[in-house]
Amino acid sequence: MIHKGAYADRIIKSRIREFGLVAATKNEKREDEGGCGVTGFAANIPVAGRHIFEPSIRMHNRGNGKGGGIAAVGFDPDQLGVSRDVLESHYLLNIALLDQECLPMLKEANVTPFFDVAKEELLGHLFDYREIPGLEVKPPDVWRAFVRVKPEVLAKFIEENGFQGMPLRWAEDEFVSRNSYRLNTRFYSSVGDKQAFVLSHGRNSMILKIVGYAEHVVQYYQLEDFVAHVWIAHQRYPTRGRVWHPGGAHPFVGLNEALVHNGDFANYYATCDYLRQRGLHPQFMTDTEVSVMLFDLWNRVYGYPLEVILEALAPTGELDFDLLPPEKQRLYDTIQSTHIHASPDGPWFFIIARNIPETNTFQLLGITDTAMLRPQVFSLYDGEVQIGLICSEKQAIDATLRSLAAGDPRFSPVADRYWNARGGSVDDGGAFLFNVEPAADGSRRLTCMNKFGKPVTVAARKPLDITAPVTKPDDYGIAIEPLLHEALESKDSAKIYDLFRTHAALWDYNTLRWVVGRIGKWVSVNADGLDGVIDGLTLLLDRRIPLGDKKRSAFIRIVTEELYGILRSLTRVTESVRLGRFALVDFQTRHALRPPVAVERVLVVDAKDFAPEGDECQSVLLVDAFKLGWRRFIVFDLRGQRFDGCGFGPRTDDVRIDLYGSSGDYVASGIDGMELHVHGNAQDQVAQIMKRGKLVIYGDAGQCFMYGAKGGTTFVLGNAAGRPLINAAGHPRVVINGTALDFLAESFMAGDPLNGGGFVIVNGLTMDEDGNVIFLDRPYPGSNLFSLASGGALYVRDPHRVIVDEQLNGGRLVELSNEDWELIHPYLLENERHFGIKVDELLTVDGLKRHPHEVYRKVEAVPLAVLTKIPETDDSVWARNAVRKAV
């Protein structure tokens, strides 16, 4: 077995010989962008292109319709009209023809002399692109061909470049790569009028891109029913120039990989130099292209294992590096010092879809930069089918799953797990990959693992068959109905919750669905029981209960669907009879919004069809309703709409809002007095500049949680991702039961916590599917804790004294005092009421209940010289010198 990297030197030298060290075209970065929406998924069964549609649409506000693209890996040979052998062995050339006339010339120059063509065709498309609303520029025609390099051509290529001994396939890969470079040079980057360029040339993979939104690609090229195992899509937000070329859109191709990117490099030029020194010349002037060139170089030319490539892209640093085993430290240190000038610097997040022909594996890979400056969510569903998803926003994941579940009952609209990667960390390396590998029976299996190969799994439980008819269980009348009715008649949400907590583990799916269904039936004729039922079902969503062999994702799905059904059957604001405590408004009836009358107290908003932002967003409706006198709101079936709770203004103490579904960015930002409950995970920028009030998140909070907050009390069941509580001042009081990825409470300025200032409690725990508490090995894994803070305090549950001084920069670890415990105890008690996490359990270490002082540690601010002294400025130095001269 020859190591791939053995030929690196020869490949690079011969490339330099052919293409030179200096770029043929002037290598100026002309395309500039920062923002994008990225999404991707990999499934063990082939999935139709239409399912990339929903997440793409849900992320329109991350692009501007000036560039969209998709990539797909792992096809059905029948749909392409070739044999499986051809599909797997041949290179699939996709060439965008901006000028249709150039095809004969192009073939003559770059195809016919070199390749045996097994099949060629012009990709089908809609007759008229204007049939697609919003698509303003005609997408390019695409010429597609399955090709192999002619043996004699390959032999000559090997001869000329000194590749003797190299496996033929490697040489063929290199030939295809260079041929595309030549083609692009001639037909794209060196001519005034761009004529054609290579979209992709890998095996069993393709890229298509246009000037438009990503879903337009699927529509225009009629890929709604075209199936693949891996799909990625990209919404681009270019801001320059009135004419855009599809060439600048993502994804970009390496050899067998397609990469989409959200972010911006600060060291683009240095990276280009690094590539040019290796005979590689960027042609499309974007940092995305450069990223995939780096990947291809390290992967195919240097033959690095994936872990090493990931390390070169996102180096491990600080405390995380210190925690690596010594031999890894040596390896990583070598990689970092060798490739540091090509390591992309700046906010970036990559999603890569690739085919690994050697093992017939299709792979979806997501990787974040070390500082985690771009949003990223991973998720996994493992049931009758398996799917892994990576997106910029959780709501886009939910949209994908909803779309898939609607088309195929084996999918679930709720994933089993959602999580974030911690960039450059010793825990996961900031990267996760989903491999779709062939199984012995001819089917495929999906596995998920992190940078270090540690698998991510979900508990093996029975998936729900949603198509199965729901029938009355035999023992319902005797064993369940009396209990259920007792709970319902009591109108006590806790009783309903308790019934499920004690019995749900024993029920099968049919019983569960039947019981939940009976609740809906009961409440439809017992309107005075609505409050109890809504609260009871909400508790079931918020808490985790033992479910036996059933999946929590299925349980969530069943309860959510019933809850939404109940809410949708409420009296509409347009109806004048049947008035009750609740009034329902949706997008169609939004103009009929009116003040509450009679006994009406709760405005229920069906958020489904509202716009993500702007005047048609339900957050605007909430403010209008508030002005009309409504104080209590339930917003459900959210699909990533933003700004809920914003705009109410000061002093809203009598307001309460409950959010269900995929809530969007900036929820509760700036609230002043109100109480807001997010049932499920929250997204990014939640509770920015929060002033007063209460926020409870029954899940994770996204990036920049409580940035610049001034006060308020918040409770988070799960984690807060990167950069929570940065620049928070005043008196915010926060309980985070999970942990934070990094930069927690940087520049915290919240006064003296014992005299009315603010603090953060970190419990460092997680829960299993059944709600059992598991304490994390490290309550706070990041390297930056409380950096440059000048006020406030952190209280960390750290009984094993894992937090070390190296993680602090301006803070000081001290023992907990009695005053501290008296301060935080009431908050932990309230935390218990919200999430059921008992204070006793928090104080229990290795089975023994301990004194709080032994369990919690405090991090307080110390006056840093840099914060209090006047730095010696150039001015003062200048002044002193001037005085000296004068004297």
Binding site: D32, E33, G34, G35, C36, N61, Y237, T239, R242, G263, D264, P347, L373, R374, E613, G614, D615, C617, S619, V620, R642, F643, C646, G647, F648, G649, P650, D665, Y666, G670, D672, Q685, Q688, I689, Q703, C704, Y707, G708, K710, G711, N727, A729, G730, H731, S747, M749, G751, L788, S790, G791, P863, V866, L867, T868, I870, T873, D874, D875, S876, W878
Partner: protein, 511 residues
Amino acid sequence: MHYKNVWNEVPRPEVVKTPSRFRRGMGKYAVMLSEACNNCLKCVAICPEKVFEERGGKLLPPHDHLCLGVECSLKSNRCARNCPTSAIRVGMNPSTRAMGDKRWTADLLMSTWYMAETGRLPKTDLEYRTGDSGGGFDKIRFRFPRRPPRPDLDKETIDTSITLNKRNDSRLKIDIGFPVYGGGMSFGSISQITMLSRIRAFAAMNSFTCTGEGGYPEALYPFDDYIITQVATGLFGVREETIQRVKIVEFKYAQGAKPGLGGHLLGDKVTEAVARIRETVPGSSLFSPFPFHSVYSVEDHKKHVDWIKAINPRCLISVKVSTPTDVDMVAVGSYYAGAHIVHLDGSYGGTGAAPDVAKKNIAMPIEYAISKVHNFLVNEGVRDEITLIVSGGIRTAFDIAKAIALGADGVVTGTSELVALECLRCHNCESGRGCARGIATTDRELTGLMDLEWGSRRIINMFLCWRAQLREILYRLGMSSVRELVGRTDVLAHLDYNKDVPDDDIRKPAE
């Protein structure tokens, strides 16, 4: 008669003579009296500029800053020649050699003080148009036609107003009375009296002032309709309430004086009052991070703009950025994100608090950035839908006019107002208790050096003089509105590239 509290009213835009608050105004020339003076008071009658004043039969120390200079004093009918005891001598004031810097020369400081006192251009030979930096606006001149092309224009009615919302959206339509509004200076970096003086003066001109990022002190509430509140990276003092009070909200992404460095207010200036407004700890330095932690790309930025729009459904959005080489990209990105105003902050501005290493060394000089952005937006076809405001070293009415001729709609100033309040440009804004003249300080004792009515009047006088100069410039160019001047680089000349550039002093009558 009821006691009337007037501090919260908008003053009338009229010139009220407002002399220096110090005993002797500083002038380019020093008028020296020898012991031979016998208090005959002949000089009081002779001097047309009222340099000499008597009180109770005794001559007061002369008002140097009104003196027209050595040549005047030596004329046969003027002071030096007619003093019976030859006690009067006029010479150059040696202090001027130590005062100011290349950008704000002693001449420029003193002419600004003169405008702030009298509302008129100085009669002396003070250079009131440009500094001596050897670049930027100091090398650019207006090329006035030999005769005013439209002598029929009435100078008094030449339109100096500009529109801040050019988008055809449902938000407020705002016109400001002259093409200037006040840049962000936070409470904490300057005193409340300084802040209010600026706000009242801009309000008098029917324009706006930005709060900076130090919060929104209650004393500002009467002027809500004339205030721009800033959402900057530290989010100090930013609340929904403050965002909803105002008509314009400004995002500060960077400052031209120190791009990439964020903001900082050193511990000594964080007094109890400052800490209360910012809800922080007294005595601890306050740092604004250099980026918005929630904004790392253009789609984040759009989301950010959408957020403020959701909080305040009527306000306009201004985006303040510095001038990197791809500033045109930033500007057009802001336009697509839904901003109404793009505010470019060039490299010449900034007070003493910006480190020298950053000042003038990082960002692109504003005169290049204006043209670059203006032309780019024109080519994109969106120039008519966005207001381009520039700042960073705009000192004089001539700077304003030059910036507009290069392509801006209007400008933002800051330092000039402080100079009107008798700032000396000593560059010690950030240190210790702050400003020796009680302008950029929050120290109670130092703040007491200035009174609000005096401060407001000084700045209004300067503005009225600026407006008159602008009108004179427009008149000489034959334009009836400042809006006609936008992008008219043809009326400008550059000393390095154009020959025979004429003098554009508007004190000399047009032919």
